[in-house]
Symmetry: C2
Subunit: 154 residues, 2 copies
DNA sequence: TGCATTTGTTATAATCTATACCCATTCGGG
DNA sequence: CCCGAATGGGTATAGATTATAACAAATGCA
């Protein structure tokens, strides 16, 4: 009838956390983030600078405020990004004649070439990371993620 | 034949970033993270402290090293978590007689009650955030996330 | 003209994460 | 039994990310 001796469990289980979608999604994001960062690192890019390059290439001439909004980043936090891209000669910042407050962001030739190279690397990264997913699974995954993104907030 | 005047585009598009699964997943994670933090805040919990409570409840007596591994957190970063849970009287830290280096972490009565309350709130948060997903979509989403988590890394 | 707004920017703070190092304790091989 | 390696908890610290306040220059509107 003695008290049970306190001992540490020999194996730890996740089972109570696994039913939460958010937990699984965070774990998947950790894997993606680590692998993608590693993919971009040899190109001298981070996730945020790669995303910025893509958006500038797709929307040439956009302003930093527009880019910040598109990236869901606060304007002050974008300054370091554009500074970095400009210092590397990947992006040009020209004052707009029509609005001398704003910069028109454009890819340089070097920037366009690095973007093409980085896009290829990121596609390879995704192909490797999602190799186990069928076409249907990928389609449903993307649809589900979009629904979550636009879900009604608390 | 003059040069085109540089002007900022009137609308910005995501289209070049959307094909990347990682981009969609990060956006979804941002939404989940914000909504879940807001859900836990009135209970005095953060994501990491809630997850810790769940794991301690599920694996009573586990050590901090075991908990850190289960949470994918470095041991130094877990100290603030257990300190916080202990200070709030939610978790007890008792030295193991068998190994006086380690703590046996256990929920207190208060901790168990708060965990039940928080679990209910998190389930409600997930029900709301994933309301637009069908049963099949949720199943495939979770399966896909698990496959990503265990995908071969670069 | 005058005033609110916008753009880019600086400074600053909060949070999260990762590494190096420390001490006490435990473990394993000789 | 003894000593070195490994482990558990902890401190200090640095880096990265994110958020807010405030500012000057420029713009737009009443």
């Amino acid at each position: 009838m003695g008290e049970d001796q306190i001992t540490a469990p020999s194996t730890i289980t996740d089972a109570a956390l696994r039913p939460f979608v958010g937990f699984n999604l965070k774990r998947a994001w950790n894997v993606i983030h680590a692998d993608l960062s590693q993919t971009l690192e040899p190109l001298g890019l981070r996730m945020i600078t790669f995303s910025a390059l893509v958006l500038i290439g797709e929307n040439p001439g956009l302003s930093q405020a527009q880019l910040a909004a598109a990236l869901s980043v606060e304007r002050p936090n974008l300054v370091a990004v554009t500074d970095e891209l400009s210092a590397k000669g990947l992006v040009s910042r020209n004052r707009l004649p029509a609005d001398r407050r704003a910069y028109a962001l454009q890819l340089t030739g070097t920037g366009a070439r690095l973007l093409a190279q980085a896009s290829e690397a990121v596609h390879a990264h995704e192909a490797r990371l999602y190799a186990a997913l069928s076409v249907d699974e990928r389609r449903i995954l993307r649809a589900a993620l979009t629904k979550i993104e636009t879900a009604p907030r608390g």
